[in-house]
Amino acid sequence: MSEPQHHIKLAEESLQKQTTTLNLGPTHPATHGVFQNILEIDGERVLEAVPTIGYIHRAFEKIAERRPYYQITPLTDRLNYCSSPINNMGWHMTIEKLLGIKTPKRVDYLRIIIMELSRIADHLVCNSVIGVDTGALTVFTYVFQLREMIYEVFEEVCGSRLTTNIGRVGGFERNFTEASFTKIHHLLTLLPKGLKEFEILLNRNRIFMDRCIGAGPISAERALNYGFTGPNLRAAGVDYDVRVASPYCSYEEFDFKIPVGTNGDVYDRYLVREGEMWQSVSIIRQALEKVEALEKEFPDQKHVFYAPEADHFHLPPKEDVYTKMEALIFHFKMIMGEIDALPGEVYHSVEGGNGEVGYYLISDGGRTPYRLHFRRPCFIYYQAYPEMIKDGLLSDAIITLSSLNVIAGELDA
């Protein structure tokens, strides 16, 4: 018999040892994306984990160097596709920062509504997936009805649902319709009920608590050292939130709390996300009130949906494109990216669905960025993953991954 050939690089002396090497992924139902973890397990206990990054690397940063600014927005959709509107708006705000555009208050509030809605959608997915991975499949279908209604709002505002490509530099592509406001109001009556039901099913469920408490913990110090942000850092006990630390988009006018955990385990991450959803509901309420107050005070504000200074960066309305030659030419130039940006170097970050989403942009004044770097929180979480699951059980490893909310698209970019 010939020697067996090993095309896969195995750990040192892995054929002689008493432990098992287990490939968790790249296509495993619990990884929710394309991740590979080569685990070294002793029975069910995880001794060592080697994550592989880059399975779906699509060279977004490099592609972005050849794309005019508007064509980069769809790339940001595909980072964290559970909350694409936040990515889109973060990118638009980065360009606004570069161009020095100041957005009107109404645009800020509308953006906040959309961003908080997508934060809720993101957290709903993450938390219900923890449920799925612990075996409680039913909660998942319950909250997906809420997520569906959030997507209907996106559909009403921009026409698409998952990868939204929502908004433009300086604001939105068109004004919010009456229907979208009706849908948001309707959603606000349903969300608290749905969240309450979700909490009743899981929060104090003895089996769920036993599964999640103490699973995949990380200390505040380690989390900070790794560069954690977002709910995963807050679950470890650090109250860092970009919306408060360096407010953008008029977040400073809003009154909300930052839920913070203590142990940084799966249960804390779950509770922090749960708390953030309630805060988001309250932020949306406040934003709607502010929009209404603004429209009452200045009736002409009703038609403001983008910054006038961004005119040279904003697509003309469709009816103008079809009837006026200048608009058509301008539309063409916009789409083909024949508009030059100012030279400069900016960094802008927003509080994304699962952490600080940052855009580091260097422009040399041309039609495309000279260099664009996405700060993707998942990239950082995934590096801490082996440390977090070490000495835990296989089941812990799986719920830790889902509670970190690592999204393959964002991890590999």
């Binding site: 139902p29 619990a30 612990t134 075996g135 039913t138 319950y142 769920f208 599964r211 059980l393």
Partner: protein
């Protein structure tokens, strides 16, 4: 020459009964899959199967046909004999248990011939159930081990240790019951639970052994590998576990065996704790009807209704609770259920000694 001495009528009767029960349990298992999907759909605000036939009633047939048509794949590196033996053993043990379930009361024909609605009334019925159920885990173990897949192996290890751990409290909880009944024959256990009310108390064992019932029920969940104890096949960790490498009807056998087990376990639970085919006011009904065949049918119907309620209960729990982690499962079995079962046994023994000890 021994065979010739056997009463031919008896033989035919038993063969008929076996055929009916075999196909009956297969049919019920088939529709249990449909029921499970419908229950899940109702609980999750979905529609469930509704394309094949009215209310999707032909869905199980379509599924079965699909499984038969699928390509049969036996992994190259598997132990082929054991790989094939696994699902067969699972199916065999699942079907064997139904032999001792008393489906209805004896039915006396006009000719004076007594028909027993039970394939075999063995006097060690309960032990037989335990024996067969313990064998059931071999199917899973062999299948998972022979697949030569790490996930399957993990799953069969889980399954084996789970089955061993949960048979103990299950057995101990039954000892308490058996001390009361004084017999191991399921037929006699059912007859003791006649009607609903006797001697100023409920006659069903559930009311006499509530703690024993809860322990037995919990262990049944574990023995059936159903949520919250579905660790061997938890889809999110071990991607379907022991039957990961199986395809075609061998996979079908595993899935099917699971539902037959669900049906038979419910039948055993009903027999032991909820009076089997007995129902309230059965004596009045029997005298009022004055037709033994109709009465027997009503009894069978009562039994089936109870069994279906039990199956539904199993399903509701499955779609509500998350699953345990492996160490927690072991902890629950060894540190909670066994002591509880022992306490239950002691209490029962003390009560029998003090109050029912008639020399």
């Amino acid at each position: 020459m021994l065979l010739l001495q056997v009463d031919m009528a008896f033989l035919i009767e038993k063969i008929l009964l076996i055929t009916v029960i075999l196909f009956g349990s297969l049919g019920i298992a088939m529709y249990a899959t449909w029921g499970e999907r419908k229950v899940a759909a109702v609980m999750q605000d979905r529609l469930g199967p509704d394309r094949a036939g009215p209310f999707g009633l032909l869905q199980p047939l379509a599924d079965g046909l699909k499984l038969f048509m699928k390509e049969e794949i036996i992994p190259d590196r598997s132990t082929k004999f054991l790989f094939i033996l696994g699902p067969c053993l699972s199916m065999l043990t699942a079907l064997m248990t139904s032999a001792i379930v008393p489906w209805g009361p004896d039915f006396v024909a006009a000719s004076g011939h007594i028909f027993t609605l039970q394939v075999a009334d063995i006097n060690i019925g309960v032990l037989y159930v335990f024996g067969v159920v313990s064998l059931g885990v071999y199917g899973i173990m062999l299948g998972g081990w022979a697949s030569n897949n790490k996930f399957s192996l993990l799953s069969s290890i889980r399954s084996a240790s789970q089955a061993i751990s949960y048979e103990l409290p299950m057995g101990i909880s039954l000892i308490a019951l058996l001390m009361m009944t004084g017999t191991l024959s399921l037929r006699e256990i059912v007859q003791q639970q006649h009607g609903f009310w006797a001697d100023g108390y409920f006659s069903w064992n559930f009311f006499k052994q509530p703690l024993g019932f809860i322990i037995f029920l919990t262990c049944s969940f574990a023995e059936l590998n159903r949520a919250p104890f579905d660790l061997p096949e938890c889809e999110s960790e071990l991607n379907m576990g022991y039957h990961q490498e199986y395809s075609s009807m061998k996979l079908g056998f595993y899935l099917f065996a699971e539902y037959i087990n669900l049906f038979v376990s419910s039948a055993i639970l009903i027999t032991l704790f909820f009076g089997g085919y007995n129902f309230p006011f059965m004596d009045q009904v029997a005298t009022g009807l004055n037709s033994p065949i109709l009465f027997t049918l009503i009894c069978v119907l009562a039994f089936m209704t109870k069994v279906i309620c039990m199956i539904l209960f199993f399903m509701f729990v499955r779609w509500t609770l998350p699953r345990f982690r492996f160490d927690q499962l072991m902890k629950l079995g060894w540190k909670s259920l066994i002591p509880l079962a022992l306490v239950n046994m002691l209490i029962t023994a003390a009560v029998i000694l003090l109050f029912f000890n008639k020399p």
